[in-house]
Amino acid sequence: MNEPTIVSFLCNWCSYEGADKAGGARLNYPANIRIVRVMCSGRVDPELVIQALKEGASGVLILGCHPGDCHYKKGNYKALRRAYLLKKTLKQLGIEEERVRLDWVAAGEGERFAEIANEMAETMKNLGPLELS
């Protein structure tokens, strides 16, 4: 019943509002999507992502403003770089790349948020829990 959670770091300005829009539109997505608000996707440090996996999350979702639309101009470009390098590193460490997903959700994109949340939950269901030694 209790599926492992998916820790979702949402930037305050676009993605968090996108998630709110999904709520406003009463779109459904699995309850294991657990949201942590950060000011910017640029605040999402690989240490935070790994810690989430370490704590038992089966996956981590990082959502920011679309490229070019970052509230802080360029934070999401850093998020892109870090997430990509982190995924490569994690892959070498035996952790499937799909367990970390960086994507962009604008403030108005409630449907997109729900879609990504559902996809991520489905992917994690197929991968199964992340068992770390």
Binding site: R82, L93, I95, S133
Partner: protein
């Protein structure tokens, strides 16, 4: 008053840490004068039973180098813990896992298969791999268990202090010994090295540009780095920013970038994660708006072995500790 008793021990390591003690040169005489070395397998003929015969806490301090990869090492360090007042993790391998910790990209089975069967230079037609128990006509032979995972010393026993480095430099060793002898030790758990990272003392710091951006990644074998320039400025990944200082900039002065042997500063849990974050952040940063996602990925793909690079010395002490085996 009797001189304080000191032990040295060696686990999974290269032996460089033992050399580091020898590198104290004349200073070693001062040490020997001040302390009684009661156990040092590489140099003196004391046995395990001599340690067992000591009272609990009788050894003032044990300097233990090397990571923990076998049952025997675990047993010995547990014994030393019991007999010692202080345990100092000596060198990168016991502090962080070090180079032997890179074995955590594999497990025992893959390592044995590789080492004893598939390495081109191995001739082992019968495919014999080490066994914990082997029966021979004379009886049963045993070997200690070779673990799947290399551990740091503090993942095995309680550690009081850390002397970082591959190997720890003589001045830090002498400082530590002096502090112990004078009872002027910092808070338990401290790393006996400066708090700041290597950039603080790096001789290339002065001329470094204020805005660092890497357009193309170079590996040290590809170019001869300008000995005056910050490695990052030249596109060579240097872990100096994410590595504690105190090493004496030995690699930097040899025109090689830092690889992180001193471990992270106290605020950082995962040296590799922080290192990759710092480096990723400045990749093509000045043109980031113009770069497509594909351009960005291509640039990042120039880092061929990120896990091996960013966790070169610290994999066992990282948050993930090892590769997850399928």
């Amino acid at each position: 008053m009797a001189k304080p008793k000191v032990a040295f021990y060696w686990n999974a390591s290269c032996g460089g840490c033992e050399e580091a003690v020898i590198d104290l040169n004349e200073d070693i005489l001062k040490v020997v004068e001040a302390v009684d070395i009661v156990f040092w397998p590489v140099a003196l003929d004391f046995k395990k039973k001599d340690v067992e015969a000591m009272g609990d806490g009788e050894i003032a301090v044990s300097f233990i180098n090397g990571a923990i990869r076998t049952e025997e090492q675990e047993e010995m360090v547990k014994l030393l813990r019991k007999k010692s007042g202080l345990i100092v993790a000596f060198g990168s391998c016991s502090h962080l896992g070090g180079i032997p910790g890179l074995a955590n990209f594999w497990d025992r089975e893959t390592i044995f298969t590789r080492v004893y069967k598939t390495v081109p230079s191995t001739a082992n037609p019968n495919g014999i791999v080490p066994q914990q128990k082997t029966n021979v006509p004379e009886g049963e032979l045993t070997l200690p268990e070779f673990y799947d995972t290399v551990k740091t010393l503090d993942q095995t026993i309680d550690v009081d202090y850390y002397l970082p480095g591959c190997a720890p430099p003589p001045d830090l060793i002498m400082n530590a010994v002096t502090a112990i002898l004078e009872g002027k030790l910092p808070e338990k758990g401290a790393v006996l090295a400066p708090e700041k990272s290597l950039c603080d003392t790096c001789p290339r710091g002065e001329k470094k540009p204020e805005k660092l951006s890497i357009k193309e990644i170079k590996r040290p074998y590809e170019i001869i780095p300008d000995p005056e320039k910050c490695f990052l400025e030249e596109g060579i990944i240097c872990l100096g920013p994410v590595t504690r200082s105190g090493c004496g900039e030995r690699c930097i002065n040899a025109n090689m970038p830092c690889r992180g042997c001193f471990g992270p500063t106290k605020e950082v849990i995962d040296q590799g994660a922080k290192g990759l974050s710092a480096i990723a952040s400045i990749l093509g940063v000045e043109d980031e708006e113009k770069m497509t996602e594909e351009d960005t990925k291509k640039l990042i793909d120039q880092i061929v072995d990120p896990a091996g690079l960013f966790y070169m010395y610290s994999l066992p002490s990282s948050l993930l500790k090892r590769k997850r085996m399928a």
